[in-house]
Amino acid sequence: MKTVLAIDTSTAQTSVALIQDGEVLFNKSHNDPLAHGEVLPKLVSQALAVNNKVDLVAVGMGPGPFTGLRVGIAFAQSYALATQIDWVGVCSLDAMAAGINQSEFIVSTDARRKERFWARYKEGVRITDPAVSKASELEKLGLPILTEGDYFPDPVALAKIALTSKSVEQPIYIRKPDAYPLPIGVKFRPMSALDLVSATAIEKQVYGKTAWSADQFKSEFAKSPKSARYLAAEFEGQLIAYAGIFYVADVADIHTLTVVADHRRKGIGRELLKRLIDWARVKKAQAIMLEMRLGNDAARPLYESFGFIEISKRENYYGPGLTAVVMRKELR
């Protein structure tokens, strides 16, 4: 006789089942995206009241929202350790797909931020690694998309898979943590007049016609050193990014945040922005504002992740047909 305790917390649902040689002794789920920690021990104690001799723990390893997902995994691993039995990790999407009778389809769960975790299945077998994508991208694949609500990672199926498949040992996170290490080899320092030649060249490269000229840079620099802060980032002696903020009458204004194309997506802009915000805080600014060109999608998520919110649009700000988006972040 083999009894499997199956647990999944990869969606809003917390699910627990107890299966003994194919017979379902207990199977219960509770839907609350913020209560996995409270619900799981309660469901497991109910299951153990039915039968407390467990031989194997099966647990959904995601993908799924991280905090809830870890509740199930941490619990399962410790339970197995304390009772000296094995635990087996299962891809949660597989446990969801098991209940679907179609030849080819996509199983997808909510990944928040308007994105979906998903994997593709053919004749009951997963044919892609779990991934995360925008919902609109997923629809382009032209396959039926089966989502949670109608389906969910079924703990009974999960127990079955655990008995026959190789264990998934690590949580399936897919996304990296929302943290950006300081880029290696990049030096951050105050910007000086010696940087102006390089900065003007970068401006032209990045902004074309709307770039600041050397004179504009100079006049920005001539402002009182107390009310403005310009920072530079260099890599192997070359200027690769710069940023400037100006503070007047309670509100600080970010004038520029520019990274050369080759060094984007390395966390340089993030670090510069963080330092500008710190500076504004020390100056006791009440808020920070910035203007961004409409369609400048590359920078927008960065600003939003720091709490900047769009407050208005200014038509023709960067020239005819070029609209500026004004964003603002409140400092407490």
Partner: protein, 341 residues
């Protein structure tokens, strides 16, 4: 005596301790602090991932160090709050898994009280009313402790940054690295603590009216930043020592005032900042002068650890406090009034 296993995951240390009554048997800590150093601060998601990765190994090592098996354990204690929610949940879920599997009681405990409870390990100090100064990267409070397991009251707390956070920020401004506490402590040893007279927050007569036992470190931080801006060739050691003196001075004046007002002549200093050498030195001097009995846990038990959680669990058992219900979850903003869940 009860054998208690304690789990702590409220911030960046994955820690498990085992105590037998008041006797410390094991204290294992796996820290993700090096991973956070690259970010200049603790990143919640990085910490939570590290907790899950380290947890099983840390439990096994603690059992090995204590020469006991899980079957011998009488109760499980775990930090249920306050702390980072995702980090806390890894500990609480692991503890629930252990308690259910072993069919043993579970005690969800308050992280802040646990910092004080650790002072009762490996000694036979009487458990009496005390004033506690709790200072770390996450908290700066003065507590009136009548009974550590049941009756703890906040007299004052920081209204902005925690003391440890102020150390981190100043270290960052001076380009010294992370975490700031130990680095500034070390720098200060070669510095003149009277070099700059930095402000002591909330100590003016007007402030004392409203904030007798509260702290504020943001003004101090601004003052240091301004000083550095104005003084390009400043000496790091002098600024570090002067900054540290301003923090330590305020912490101690207010703690001793709290002792005096409440007629309690015991002071416990706990939390990560209690490892600061200047705080320890000045506390000793001033407590001797004021005839107050000072107690500071050994440095190894000041920062977050599992032994303190086990110690508080053990104390709760001794005092007959009821165990927690299954499904306590975690409370990131738990108040000090909730000692045991």
């Amino acid at each position: 005596m009860a054998l208690v296993l304690g789990i702590e995951t409220s911030c960046d240390e994955t820690a498990v301790g085992i105590v037998d009554g008041r006797k410390l048997l094991a204290n294992v800590i796996s820290s993700s602090v090096e991973e956070h150093a690259r970010f200049g601060g603790v990143v919640p998601e990085v910490a939570s991932r590290a907790h899950l990765e380290a947890m099983q190994q840390v439990i096994k090592q603690a059992l090995k160090d204590a020469s006991v098996t899980l079957k011998d354990i009488d109760a499980i204690a775990v930090t249920a709050g306050p702390g980072l929610i995702g980090a806390l949940l890894v500990g609480v879920s692991s503890a629930s898994g252990l308690a259910l599997a072993l069919d043993k009681p579970l005690y969800g405990v308050n992280h802040l009280s646990a910092h004080i409870a650790v002072d009762q390990l490996d000694n036979d100090k009487k458990i009496t009313p005390t004033i506690a100064l709790l200072v770390s990267g996450g908290h700066s409070s003065i507590l009136k402790v009548k009974n550590l397991a049941t009756d703890v009251e906040v007299m004052g707390a920081t209204i902005d940054d925690a003391a440890g956070e102020a150390f981190d920020k100043i270290a960052r401004i001076m380009g010294l690295g992370f975490p700031g506490g130990p680095i500034i402590d070390k720098q200060s040893k070669d510095g003149d603590l009277n070099h700059v007279n930095f402000p002591r927050g909330l100590t003016s007569a007007a402030d004392l009216d409203k904030h007798q036992y509260n702290f504020s470190f943001s003004g101090l931080k601004t003052a240091v930043a301004r000083y550095i801006e104005k003084t390009p060739n400043y000496k790091k050691a002098d600024v570090a020592a002067s900054f540290q003196e301003a923090v330590v001075d305020v912490l101690l004046s207010k703690s001793l005032a709290a002792c005096k007002e409440s007629g309690i002549d015991n002071l416990v200093i706990a939390g990560g900042v209690a490892a600061n050498s200047r705080l320890r030195e000045l506390a000793k001097q001033r407590c001797e002068m004021s005839k107050i009995k000072l107690s500071i846990p050994p440095i190894a038990l000041c920062s977050d650890n599992g032994a303190m959680v086990a110690a508080l669990g053990s104390l709760a058992i001794t005092q007959g406090v009821k165990p927690s219900q299954m499904g306590i979850g975690a409370d990131s903003a738990a108040s000090i009034a909730q000692v045991i869940w």
